[in-house]
Subunit: 440 residues, 2 copies
Amino acid sequence: MADALKVGIAGLGTVGASLVRIIQTRANELATTCGRAIEITAVTARDRSRDRGIDISGIAWFDTPEKMANEADIDVFVELIGGASGAAADSVKAALTRGLHVVTANKALLAASGVELAKIAEEKSVLLNFEAAVAGGIPVIKALRESLTGNTVSRVYGIMNGTCNYILTRMEKEGLSFADCLKEAQRLGYAEADPAFDIEGNDTAHKLAILTTLAFGTQIAADEIYLEGISNISIEDIHAAADLGYRIKLLGVAQLTDSGIEQRVHPTMVPHDSVIAQVDGVTNAVAIESDILGELLMVGPGAGGNATASAVLGDIADIAKSSPGAQRVPVLGTPAASLAPYKRARMQSHEGGYFIRLTVADRTGVFASIAARMAENGISLESIMQRSKPDAATDTPKTIILVTHATTEHSVRKAVDAIKAESYLVGEPQVIRIERPKAF
Amino acid sequence: MADALKVGIAGLGTVGASLVRIIQTRANELATTCGRAIEITAVTARDRSRDRGIDISGIAWFDTPEKMANEADIDVFVELIGGASGAAADSVKAALTRGLHVVTANKALLAASGVELAKIAEEKSVLLNFEAAVAGGIPVIKALRESLTGNTVSRVYGIMNGTCNYILTRMEKEGLSFADCLKEAQRLGYAEADPAFDIEGNDTAHKLAILTTLAFGTQIAADEIYLEGISNISIEDIHAAADLGYRIKLLGVAQLTDSGIEQRVHPTMVPHDSVIAQVDGVTNAVAIESDILGELLMVGPGAGGNATASAVLGDIADIAKSSPGAQRVPVLGTPAASLAPYKRARMQSHEGGYFIRLTVADRTGVFASIAARMAENGISLESIMQRSKPDAATDTPKTIILVTHATTEHSVRKAVDAIKAESYLVGEPQVIRIERPKAF
């Protein structure tokens, strides 16, 4: 049997502690499967003495990740610290520069510096694996980087934030408000005390930026993502969506268009009978549409110490199983030096169906005016729904819901602006984009 | 750049021709991604002169697969002939013995001789890849063999036959009979002229046997699978399932139990709101439940020339990207020499819920008798439904549907046998097992 693979783990939070436990308790199985032992020979974390329920007594301790990256007797540097800069970035860079393989779960780091790090890894002929960085336990990086070799991807999209999906699911199933569901998610530990990063879509955007590069072979462009969170979604939207045969999900979508690549994160209506519409709660899902394979959808846990540790362990095992010497798995699917520039498609030119909810004064001619604004902008309508409570007074504002056939963002915004200029509108119009899976 | 990877393709049917076309038209992209060119240097098929819409003029032609395996100047032998024995088996064995990597889409061959072939591959330190053999374009082999390293799998199950899923979907959506849907599937090319291999579950069984070995590290045991096809499913069952909140799918299920491993292929009721229940038509889906990662579900095309060629190409690319020399990816997840014996769990001890449909004479005391037979066998009931047409004459047979709580196959068979011994039963009872996804 070959020499043991020596692993150093930086960061002993939930994922790190879980990883240590698994590698220690399954040492025999791992050695059999990988053809060599996997041995943790170094660790580093903020607090040496904290009780994590794991035994690190026989493992070399380092006071800083940088020191471990530079000095430890290891083959693989596992980064579980987090953050786009600071210790995580410095230590990963140092490890790669030293010629160590790196495994990381750090989406922020990759979204910010993925290309730079991939270049170093490829120069040094080492692997930089990051399955856990996107959609936790779902092997979407492997699918894009390996299984789909030779395919031209046309669209990749998914539910990549468990907090948002949990909230949207609870709103629909229990009829609760966004605020109530957020509070519940916080109580259950599914949402942070400061939930903005999740509910405004930034977390999804980081993951999407990485998938975009893997799918389309372009530079990472995490700052060029159209972003809209879910805090604006009301129970009324969810009910109207259900009546029309849709469910609302926060999707990250990257799509190849004639004018460039769209990257967008926003609440999305998906057909109720599509497979992804059934993905509830904190579960994640990623779909990939490509020209040879067709459509592939993967559903699984997007977070959690064990699921993330499993993905990290899979990455370590891939290194253990690979032969030493020249590695030819390009870190980002395409060799870093061959990545094309990212060409952003303008959001205005996005094509698709739209759900538009308007609250209007109950006045003669309103419906005709709305229909005229749509027609003027070349928008044809799939369905129109007017809602009012049967016992409401005649001067109560009414809700009008429109679902458009495929049109452009530009047309919809122009039409909505024209409607906003009319005097009958009460409150802000709600606009939700519709996304249709190609095959299922 | 490293030397080109030289590939020989045996079999130029739909998949083979598609593969040749893709490798030829995407040569540049493949070379960039893999760090070396992929070049087809040898082909063999039954008929040299047939027009396949591809250019094989510059490629060495061999009259037999065996000759190509033994003599061609290739690094990888791609077997797309099919069949558990004969040319496919002989040529794959010859190629491995010669020290060539092998890629195959041949489930029958692997189900019959997978362990023997894996042993040769491992002795020769070459790769034997077979992603296309199970569920076509869905990368389930990679997930089990690589991503889930270190996990203990408890259950793997899936919709792995497009013909059956197409027929069941059409029956439900159109209210047509099994026979009519089968005819339609044959007309559309989704079913063979002799459909027995698909509809009786044998095709699913081959795939399941391979997944079982990857999931549980045991010897392949394709002959020890409990088998029940879908020809017995009536539109009445499908309607009753819908009323009770279920859909009927032909599942292959491998499950770890206290008394061994269950391998079974049979019509199965899955909860309507589970994700897998939404997988319609010829689409396939495979779910894996494991202790660290949790549940993973993959949905995609299970067949078709392009989807299968894509999976084969992914396997070839993995070889192109890997370093030459010692390979440590065990062919079947566990090194062939370390596979445990397969211990079959008795079907009688299977535990789960059951749907039982009985047609009975409309006689006083029938209901009480059925309830008594269930109770005597310790079976508790989740729901009971009696159906009769409102205008039916009083002596028309009635349909009684029972859904049990978790019980054993043994108890259900005993209860049903006891009911069959009574004089009120009209026709054969229908029994369908219920399967519940763990997480979604």
